[in-house]
Amino acid sequence: MDDPCCFQYTVLKEKQRDEIGLIPCPEARYNRSPIVLVENKLGVESWCVKFLLPYVHNKLLLYRTRKQRLNKDELIDVTCTLLLLNPDFTTAWNVRKELILSGTLNPVKDLHLGKLALTKFPKSPETWIHRRWVLQQLIQEASLSSFVTKGNLGIVPAERTQRIIQEEMEVCGEAAGRYPSNYNAWSHRIWVLQHLAKLDIKILLDELSSTKQWASMHISDHSGFHYRQFLLKSLISQTAVDSSVLEQNSLRSKPKDEEATDSVEEPRVNLTHLLEKEVEFCTDLIDSYPGHETLWCHRRHVFYLQHRLSGRFPHSLTHLSPADCPGGTLNDLHLIPTSPQESQAMEVDGLNESSKQGYSQETKRLKRTPASDSLGLEMEHRFIDQVLSTCRNAEQARYANAYRRWLVTLSQ
């Protein structure tokens, strides 16, 4: 009977392992180990899985039902083996939660384990869910120093938090590359920005520029473009927050209040410019790669943001109330950063495409929009004309026409 010991020994040095994989090998050969290690990639020959998996699975269940004792090292080994074979086995993650809470297991180990599991199972929901739990543990541990005030920059994430955030961005990026439109990976990425980075403007801007190249090479990755929409929306809301905070503070200036004496000099965000650049980016992709619906959806979102933005400037610094938000699209916009103790519920699902219900509220505002906005509409119509007159791709024509119809309903 295969003892998972040989597996554990190799996996124990998992910090150096950067990938796991299954090697299709229906029969055992020569009585040798099914574990194959090449250049830090850990492979398991498939023939052994049907022995190994039930064995460790059973072992864990016996422990759970108190029929068999396991010491902490054994628990760590067994859960590790299980999770690398099937990372959606919640019980195994939960056992590890208990080990973490009792101080027996370093939570960082679970980040490594999760990262490794994601190389083979980039969507695994339980892995992402556990990862968020671990991150919250880490942040709570260091809650006093998660954020620091840094001179003119106001409140920024501490260096340790920054490193964690960067690592998460990388893990998400890798997982996104391993599976098309990896919703779970991109949602996690959004969660990290909301809960660990607190929608820090500099980080949002960095993310916007660093994911641009990726997006241009994954033009039908809807989740990737949805991420950019999230970044833009968050930049809009966070800029509004800072402006209104400034206004409030200037009305009741307290000498000791750091925010009043130091003007918040974080990167000046020219939202109009950002949105224009995004439209340009989108146009460029639509022209280069005809017939990709994702790009047209993205265009709708960006146009809609421009539309809303021009309706708001320059006087409406009042907060965005839910009543203003069509179709619940703004559930994720925090005016006040959430505290780590709040629920880790995923608010990403609030981000829907501009739904039809929104239009009635929008139309009232549309009648008040400044002239610059109908200019925007005109430009869009011209863009559509240009596409239709030159494209030869049937799908491209279809998307262009659908976009036109959408614009028309917007202005009715």
Partner: protein, 198 residues
């Protein structure tokens, strides 16, 4: 947006002869790479065998698109890409490669050549450069002279086969595919690979 392989072949009767190939399997998980490469060779040969001289076609198979151009002189090229990669650029690449190849390699060598004997080294460079279509082919936005309606579209590999022919049979009889690749094919066929544990 990815290119996975670029091959030059000669359409002999009844089989196609692989003359030169370049692969990029870096986006596949480590232990799948050799199998994937073998499959791409297998697929390229099969497509050329089942395509007429003087034709261009795009064959869809799962999330891959195989673009083939068989010239009237039986020289053929196959590009295997994902569904994001613009097919116009793929065909531009094929045309360019076959032109260059026929200038550098004597016609006499084509029917009997192998990747080991053929003296043509530019393929890896082309594959790498064309990973980014806009950099490799900046004029790709400009409408190509190629009439896109002449490209035959196949929705599956199956549609290339003769009546009664099964892909499974061709796979198991293939000399290009190793035992591991054949095992890989069998398991992938059996299960929906996105949910598989094994």
């Amino acid at each position: 947006m990815k290119l996975y392989s670029l091959s030059v072949l000669y359409k002999s009767e009844p089989k196609a002869v692989l003359l030169k190939a370049a692969y990029d399997v870096s986006s596949f998980s480590f232990f799948q790479r050799s199998s994937v490469q073998e499959f791409m060779t297998f697929t390229s040969e099969l497509i050329v065998e089942r395509s007429a001289k003087g034709s261009r076609a795009s064959v869809k198979e799962q999330e891959y698109l195989c673009h083939v151009y068989v010239r009237n002189d039986s020289l053929a090229g196959v590009v295997i890409a994902d569904s994001e990669y613009p097919s116009r650029v793929a065909f531009t690449l094929l045309e360019k490669v076959l032109d260059e190849f026929s200038e550098q390699v004597d016609r006499i060598d084509w029917p009997v050549g192998t990747p080991a004997t053929i003296q043509y080294t530019a393929l890896d460079g082309h594959l790498s450069r064309y990973q980014n279509p806009r950099e490799a082919d900046p004029m790709s936005k400009v409408q190509a002279e190629l009439d896109e309606t002449k490209i035959i579209l196949h929705n599956t590999m199956e549609s290339l086969l003769e009546r009664g022919e099964k892909l499974d049979d061709l796979v198991s009889k293939s000399e290009v595919l190793g035992t591991q690749s054949k095992a890989f094919y069998k398991t992938a066929r059996k299960q929906n690979s996105c949910c598989a544990i094994m």
